[in-house]
C-alpha cells in the first residue's frame, strides 16, 4: 500500500480500492452444494428414520429380510469379483503398454479410453444383444454343434460381472499405467546387475512399486461397481440383484419411501466406509483425479 505508487494512488482516487476477497467467490458453489447435494442426502437419511414411523424400524426390516441380505451380499460379491478380474486384466494390459513400442502403447491407450466416450446404455445394449440365447456367441456354438442348449450367458451374475468389467476397465488401466510409468528403470537395472532373475526383479522391485496404482484403480472400480444400476437391470436376472435396483424398486415402484431411503443409507455407508478405510492407504482425491485425467 505504498502511496508512492502513482497507479495505486490513482485507483484509490477514483474509488476502486475496495476489492472483495476471492473467498467470497466460494459462496455460490457452497450454496449449490448445500441445497442441491447435501440437503437431498440429509433428507434421505431423515426419511429413513421417520417414515412411516420414528425409529430404526426400516433398518430392522432390512436386516431381517433374507432376500435383502442376499442383495447386499450379491452386490459386494459381484463388485469384488469384477474388481479382481479388472485388476488382473488391467495389470497385464498396463504392463503391455509399458513394455511396447510407442506406437503400440499409444494404440492401446486410445483403445481403452475410447469406449469411455460411448454411452453406457449403448455398450450394455451391445452386450445384451451378444450374450442372449439368440446372440452371436450362442448361435455360433449351436450352429457348429458344440453345444445343444444355449449357454446361460445372460440374466445372471456372470453377465453383470462381464458388463461391469467392460465398463470399468479404463478406470483400472489409467491409474495402473500412471504408477508403472513413474517406476525408475534404474532400480530394475540395478536388480538385474546384482544378479536377480527377471522374475525376481519383477516380484521384488517392479510389482511393489506398481502397487499404488493397483490400489487406486481397485478402489475406484470397487466403489463404482457397488453403485451399478443400469447394467444389472439390463443384464441381470430380473429380480433385485443389486442394492441400487432394490432402492429403485421400493422408491419408484412401491412408494415405500422410508424403507427405500434406509437401503439408500446402507449403500451410501458401504461406499463411504470403503473410501474411509482406503483413505488410510492411499490419497483418494489423487486416485479419483488420476482415474479421470486420461479421459
Amino acid at each position: 500500500m505504498s502511496e508512492r505508487n502513482p497507479v495505486s494512488r490513482f485507483s484509490r482516487a477514483i474509488g476502486r480500492t475496495w476489492h472483495p476477497s476471492p473467498a467470497l467467490l466460494l459462496i455460490p458453489g457452497l450454496l449449490v452444494i448445500l441445497f442441491l447435494f447435501l440437503w437431498p442426502l440429509g433428507q434421505m437419511i431423515y426419511f429413513s428414520f421417520t417414515d412411516p414411523t420414528v425409529g430404526f424400524a426400516n433398518y430392522v426390516r432390512f436386516f431381517e429380510t433374507p432376500s435383502e441380505i442376499r442383495s447386499l451380499i450379491t452386490t459386494m460379491e459381484v463388485s469384488f469379483l469384477s474388481t479382481l478380474i479388472c485388476a488382473i486384466v488391467g495389470y497385464l494390459y498396463s504392463y503391455t503398454m509399458l513394455r511396447s513400442s510407442k506406437t503400440v502403447s499409444n494404440l492401446l491407450m486410445v483403445a481403452v479410453v475410447l469406449p469411455m466416450g460411448v454411452s453406457i446404455l449403448v455398450r450394455t445394449f451391445s452386450l445384451q444383444a451378444i450374450l442372449r440365447d439368440t446372440g452371436i456367441i450362442n448361435q455360433t456354438l449351436l450352429n457348429l454343434g458344440i453345444i445343444k442348449q444355449p449357454l446361460p450367458l445372460i440374466r445372471n451374475s456372470f453377465a453383470v460381472a462381464v458388463g461391469i468389467v467392460s465398463m470399468e476397465l479404463p478406470f483400472m488401466v489409467l491409474p495402473m499405467y500412471n504408477s508403472m510409468v513413474q517406476i525408475n528403470n534404474k532400480l530394475l537395472l540395478a536388480g538385474e546387475g546384482l544378479g536377480a532373475t527377471p522374475l525376481r526383479v519383477f516380484i521384488d522391485i517392479f510389482f511393489p512399486l506398481s502397487l499404488p496404482g493397483v490400489l487406486a484403480g481397485s478402489l475406484i472400480v470397487f466403489v463404482s461397481s457397488l453403485a451399478y444400476y443400469i447394467v444389472p437391470q439390463l443384464l441381470g436376472s430380473g429380480g433385485q440383484l443389486f442394492l441400487s435396483q432394490d432402492i429403485a424398486h421400493w422408491v419408484q415402484d412401491q412408494a415405500e419411501f422410508g424403507y427405500g431411503a434406509a437401503i439408500g443409507v446402507i449403500l451410501l455407508l458401504l461406499t463411504l466406509g470403503t473410501l474411509f478405510i482406503a483413505s488410510f492407504f492411499i490419497n483418494i482425491d489423487k486416485a479419483l483425479t488420476q482415474s479421470t485425467g486420461g479421459k
Partner: protein, 274 residues
C-alpha cells in the same frame, strides 16, 4: 522378459480391445437389418429402423428436453466449478480441503442414492419444521437441470483446479501491479490461460448430463423426460432392431462430442509454450 511372453501379452491386450470394442460395432451393424428381430450378421441393408425411431413422437418431445437440460446444466456447472476452483486457489480459507472433497463427492455417491434424495426434496421442497420452500420439481425441466448441475460438477472442477495449479501466479500479480483490478486481471490474464480446461470441462459436463439415465429416470415424468431415459425404458421392454438404431444414433452423438473434445484439447496451451 522373453520374446514369447511379450508377444503373448500383446496378443492378450488386443483380445481385450476386441472384447471392449467389437460389441459396439456389432450393434451398429445389426441396426441396418431388414429382419424384424435383432440378428448378426444382419440380413440385407435398410434404414427402416431409423425411420421407425424418428417417426415416433416421443423422440421429438424428448430431444429438445435433453438438449436444453444438458446445455444449461453444463454451463452452470462449469461456471460454478471454475469460480470455486479459482476462489480456492486464490484465497486461504479454512476447510478448503473439505470444499474440494464436496465438489468431487458427487462422483462417488451412488447415482440411485443421489436420485432418491433429490426425488424427495424436488417433490416436497426444502423443508425445515414449518418452513418450506420449493417443491413440485419432479417432471420439470428445472428439476432435471438442478440435478444435472450436481452430477456434472466434479469433472470441470478437477480439470480447472489442475490447470490453475499449474499456472504461473506471477503473471496475475504483474497485471495487478500494473494497475489492473482483480476482475480485469482475471479476465485478461487468468481466464485465457485456463480456457482450454474450462472448455473441456464444459464438454465433459455436457456429455455426462446428456448421457445421464439413473437420476433423470427418478426425476422425469411421462410428459417431461430425456432421450436416455426413453432408451432405457425401451431396452427394458423390447429388444428389437429399433433399439439398435437408437443406440447407434446415440453413439453418433458421442462421436461428435469426442471429436469436439479432441479439437479443444489440441489447442496449444500458452503455458506450455513458455
Amino acid at each position: 522378459m522373453s520374446k514369447r511372453a511379450s508377444w503373448l501379452l500383446v496378443a492378450f491386450s488386443f483380445l481385450v480391445i476386441v472384447v471392449l470394442i467389437a460389441p459396439i460395432f456389432i450393434s451398429i451393424a445389426m441396426s441396418f437389418t431388414t429382419s424384424s428381430t435383432l440378428m448378426f450378421p444382419p440380413v440385407g441393408f435398410s434404414l427402416k429402423w431409423y425411420q421407425a425411431v424418428i417417426q415416433q413422437p416421443k423422440w421429438q418431445d424428448r430431444l429438445p428436453v435433453s438438449l436444453i437440460v444438458a446445455l444449461v446444466s453444463s454451463i452452470l456447472a462449469t461456471t460454478i466449478s471454475t469460480t470455486t476452483a479459482f476462489a480456492l486457489a486464490r484465497s486461504r480459507v479454512r476447510g478448503s480441503g473439505l470444499i474440494s472433497t464436496l465438489f468431487i463427492a458427487p462422483m462417488v455417491v451412488p447415482a440411485v442414492v443421489l436420485a432418491t434424495g433429490m426425488y424427495f426434496v424436488w417433490a416436497k421442497g426444502w423443508t425445515i419444521g414449518p418452513l418450506s420452500f420449493g417443491g413440485k420439481l419432479v417432471g420439470t425441466i428445472i428439476g432435471l437441470i438442478l440435478a444435472d448441475i450436481i452430477i456434472s460438477l466434479p469433472l470441470p472442477f478437477i480439470l480447472v483446479r489442475a490447470s490453475l495449479g499449474g499456472l504461473d501466479k506471477t503473471l496475475e500479480m504483474a497485471a495487478k501491479n500494473l494497475g489492473a483490478s482483480p476482475l480485469k486481471a482475471f479476465f485478461t490474464i487468468t481466464l485465457p490461460l485456463i480456457l482450454p480446461s474450462i472448455l473441456s470441462g464444459f464438454l465433459f459436463a455436457f456429455e455426462i448430463s446428456w448421457d445421464e439415465v439413473v437420476v433423470a429416470s427418478f426425476l422425469s415424468s411421462p410428459r417431461v423426460s430425456t432421450v436416455p431415459v426413453a432408451i432405457f425404458q425401451q431396452l427394458r421392454e423390447t429388444l428389437d432392431p429399433s433399439a439398435a438404431a437408437i443406440s447407434s444414433m446415440l453413439l453418433f452423438a458421442s462421436v461428435i462430442l469426442i471429436v469436439l473434445m479432441t479439437l479443444v484439447r489440441r489447442k496449444p496451451k500458452i503455458t506450455e509454450e513458455e
